[in-house]
């Protein structure tokens, strides 16, 4: 088989698997830059996936579903934010238990509700979608996918605004930040909410726009892959985006390779994200751009 079609096959398989990682990844990047090692991103995605599926079923409209999903994720983010950046509870404990909680709640509700999600159709961007190789992969997608563009612009814009600097300050040196009059915990909570917003879209995409159904624990560890992506991306925006693609392709290959006529160890492919993240850490060691106060609580004296 010839190369272009092979590449196209790989891309078309990979991009849709990258999308949820990208959405959540952008959120997690912001949350971590602001100093929260946010484990509950998994829970955010799962919660959103269910809420979106439910909303779409009840209303018959994917958009309502999306909104419900975002709402659910925001709620989780809100709880997490207030527990760890108002009450100063251990972020890791809160994150982990929120994941347990969400898994429990979604399974529980799933067993008492019936879901029937309306199908949506893909947008095909004129001209661009006719490009060789990339055209089909990038420009024939459900409309939510294109929310990535404004989201990226937003982040890029915010980074160049005071808000961006304040978020970084909150993540790098909360004490000094506080002295210069930044409300560190507020910034961190806001970053978490933003993470919730993004992860919410990612989760909704999974259930409503990609699968068209919800199954128990359907995020299947994507949240943790996202965390790995932020690490592998060296806590840099471009890095994180790149990492999400790499991991998306790792999953895509699993689907594309047989089609092209190759095989690879499924376990190995599934392990790549974590291996890569570990490798990059091992290589960079302490030299990575990790936010200095990542995961550090901050309680100002007033």
């Amino acid at each position: 088989m010839n190369l272009t079609t092979d590449l196209e096959t790989i891309l078309t398989a990979s991009v849709p698997l990258t999308v949820p990682l990208l959405f959540a990844g952008l959120g997690e990047y912001v949350a971590q830059r602001a100093g929260t090692f946010n484990l509950s991103v998994e829970g955010m995605m799962l919660g959103s996936a269910f809420a979106a599926a439910y909303g779409a079923t009840e209303s018959g409209s994917p958009i309502v579903g999306l909104l419900c999903g975002i709402g659910a994720a925001l709620l989780i983010a809100f709880v997490h934010g207030n527990l760890s950046h108002r009450l100063q509870l251990n972020t890791y404990v809160v994150g982990l238990s929120l994941n347990v909680l969400v898994l429990g709640v979604t399974n529980y509700l799933l067993s008492t509700t019936a879901l029937d999600i309306p199908g949506g159709s893909a947008w095909r961007i004129p001209l661009l979608s006719d490009l060789p190789i990339v055209g089909k992969a990038f420009f024939v997608q459900p409309w939510v996918v294109y929310l990535l563009v404004p989201l990226l612009l937003l982040i890029w814009w915010v980074r160049r605004r005071r808000m961006g600097l304040e978020l970084r300050a909150a993540g790098d040196d909360p004490v000094a930040g506080d002295l210069t009059g930044i409300d560190v915990n507020a910034r961190r909570r806001q970053a978490l909410l933003f993470c919730g917003f993004c992860a919410g879209i990612g989760g909704a995409y999974l259930s409503v726009f990609q699968a068209g159904s919800f199954t128990s624990g359907m995020t299947a560890g994507r949240g943790y892959i996202v965390i790995a992506a932020v690490i592998f991306g060296g806590w840099m925006l471009r890095g994180v985006i790149g990492a999400c693609f790499v991991f998306g392709v790792a999953q895509g290959l699993q689907l594309a390779l047989p089609a092209i006529g190759y095989t690879a160890s499924p376990q190995l492919l599934a392990a790549t994200p974590y291996l890569l993240a570990l490798a990059s850490l091992a290589v960079l060691g302490a030299r990575s751009k990790r936010p200095l106060a990542l995961g550090q609580p901050f309680a100002p004296v007033r």
Binding site: R161, R168, D173, G177, T180, L292, V301
Partner: protein, 517 residues
């Protein structure tokens, strides 16, 4: 006329412990107002309240006659009140200009900000590089950045909290000239916090002295004799022998020939050194930490290491604490080679270290005083791998008495002790191990005069009892006060050594500046 700042009846408690009680403070327009007081007097707290960083329990603040409610630094900034903090408030991972942006109003505009920075820095002769990453700057540079940050939006009131603690004399001098210029041209008032009476006397028009959270006196330093100021600060007449120490500690007079300072001990050159460091060279993540450094100390001798902050002092003490390994050179104690760089290696060889940052590397804040006193000798306190609580306590009790450490019980957590007493605990622990060499790094930094006097006395006793004492300090008076020999460290090497007799501030200053004498 209307005072630039008027704080009235300010009261603040931390967990029921008073930090400020009914403090009244008045600063006239265009004056440099000194704020004096020993540690824990409440100076920083008072200023933090002014900046809105701490909420007072009670009290009013008025700026230029206008009652002001200041909830956070931004509010303060809006009212033209800025502060250079005791511990700097810069974000290390951001560039200088980004830090400036952070602590000023308006939208982020790199080029405009950089313009402003350059303008201010040349107006006040504070040169800073706007694009540099703050984390890469030296302490002095960082302070300049802080100043620029404050000055950029022409404050009406500028607060400096112990600005000179980390500066060389030269740097301090230029700072003060700059401040004078500021108050004269820019009609801005300055509040200057310091322990150092000499400085206050030199620059400030009026001063307020605090003790135990209260204002004890308002004076005009120029007219008031230093000794009296000191008395206000400490609240008691100074113990006889300590006189000179205190004078030294608070920078009164040139302590070199202050009476009561002990005679130089004739160090017999023939006698073999207890500690000898030969050609010690080490790098720490890329940067040269020590550069073929040579140093020798004999029994009963006090050797002072003078130098500007950040010329390798912390690495020298790290080396002697056994946590820095050498690429070249060696460390010998009693002529025996020590495998430095291995945890505890130097301690085994009989070197005791009172580290610079006692909170972080001297003691364990969340453990009890008893535990902290026992740290070094745990092995001797335990049989068959089990620590005997009884022995541990008796040891602790003994040391607490010997070093009269002020504690309610040896079981109270280290964290709850005052800085001076924490220092005493560390000292007690190190001396209780009967070291051959005792290293003290910046031992009196941030201690009040009473504590300083006591500490100096104990160092002398140690030396008298034949311990070889190495005193690393950036306080020249202290160095000249105590040492038999003074070695000046510069860029990780010993720039030169002076016997106590031939040492005077100017020559030392030259050496510290890298000029060989």
């Amino acid at each position: 006329m209307v005072p630039a700042l008027r704080m009235a009846g300010i009261t603040k408690h931390f967990n029921g412990v008073p930090a400020c009680l009914d403090v009244d403070l008045e600063v006239a327009p265009g004056e440099i107002h000194g704020l004096l007081g020993q540690n824990g007097a409440g100076k920083s707290t008072l200023m933090n309240i002014l900046l809105g960083l701490v909420r007072p329990d009670r009290g009013e603040v008025a700026l230029a006659g206008e009652p002001a409610v200041i909830r956070d630094p931004n509010a303060a900034r809006a009212l033209g009140v800025r502060m250079v903090h005791q511990h700097y408030s810069l974000i290390p991972t951001l560039s200088v200009w980004e830090n400036v942006v952070l602590s000023s109003e308006g939208r982020v505009d790199r080029d405009r900000t950089i313009g402003q920075i350059e303008e201010v820095s040349e107006r006040f002769g504070l040169e800073v590089s706007p694009r540099a990453m703050v984390g890469d700057l030296s302490v002095g540079e960082q302070q300049r950045v802080e100043l620029v940050t404050c000055l950029i939006d022409r404050p009406r009131l500028l607060v400096l909290d112990e600005p000179t603690a980390v500066l060389t004399r030269q740097e301090s001098r230029s700072l003060f000239t700059m401040l004078r210029g500021l108050v004269e041209q820019e009609d801005c008032s300055v509040i200057l916090i310091s322990h150092n009476l000499a400085e206050i006397t030199a620059v400030s028009n009026r001063a307020t002295v605090m003790r135990g959270g209260r204002v004890v006196s308002r004076v005009s330093p120029k007219e008031t004799p230093v000794a009296e100021l000191a008395r206000h600060m400490i609240g008691r007449d100074l113990p006889g022998p300590a006189q000179a120490d205190v004078a030294a500690a608070i920078g009164a007079g040139t302590a070199a020939e202050g009476e009561g300072s002990r005679q130089a001990r004739p160090a017999a050159a023939d006698e073999a050194p207890v500690l000898s460091i030969v050609g010690a060279t080490a790098t720490s993540d890329g940067t040269r930490a020590l550069d073929s450094l040579d140093l020798e100390i004999r029994a009963g001798e006090i050797v002072g290491v003078a130098g500007v902050e950040g010329n390798g002092q912390q690495w020298l003490s790290a080396l002697l604490a056994g946590s820095l390994s050498l690429q070249e050179g060696e460390v010998r104690v009693h002529g025996k080679r020590v495998a430095v760089g291995r945890p505890g290696s130097t301690r085994k060889a009989g070197v005791g270290v009172v580290p610079e940052d006692r909170k972080t590397s001297g003691c364990i804040l969340d453990m009890s005083v008893a535990d902290n006193l026992a740290l070094a000798g745990l092995k001797s306190l335990s049989r068959a791998g089990v620590v005997s609580r009884r022995k541990l306590h008796s040891l602790a009790e003994r040391l607490v008495d010997d070093f009269d450490i002020a504690v309610a019980s040896v079981d109270q957590p280290m964290r709850s002790l005052s800085g001076g007493n924490q220092q005493k605990v560390v000292l007690a622990r190190e001396m209780s191990a009967q070291p051959a060499v005792l290293v003290l790094a910046q031992p009196t930094r941030g201690l009040d005069v009473g504590a300083v006097a006591d500490l100096h006395e104990r160092m002398r006793q140690a030396a008298a009892s034949g311990v070889a004492v190495l005193l690393i300090s950036s306080d020249l008076n202290e160095i000249m006060q105590l040492s038999d020999r003074i070695a000046v460290i510069y860029r990780g090497r010993i720039q030169g050594e002076l016997a106590r007799a031939e040492a005077d501030p100017e020559r030392l200053g030259l050496l510290m500046g890298g000029v060989s004498a």
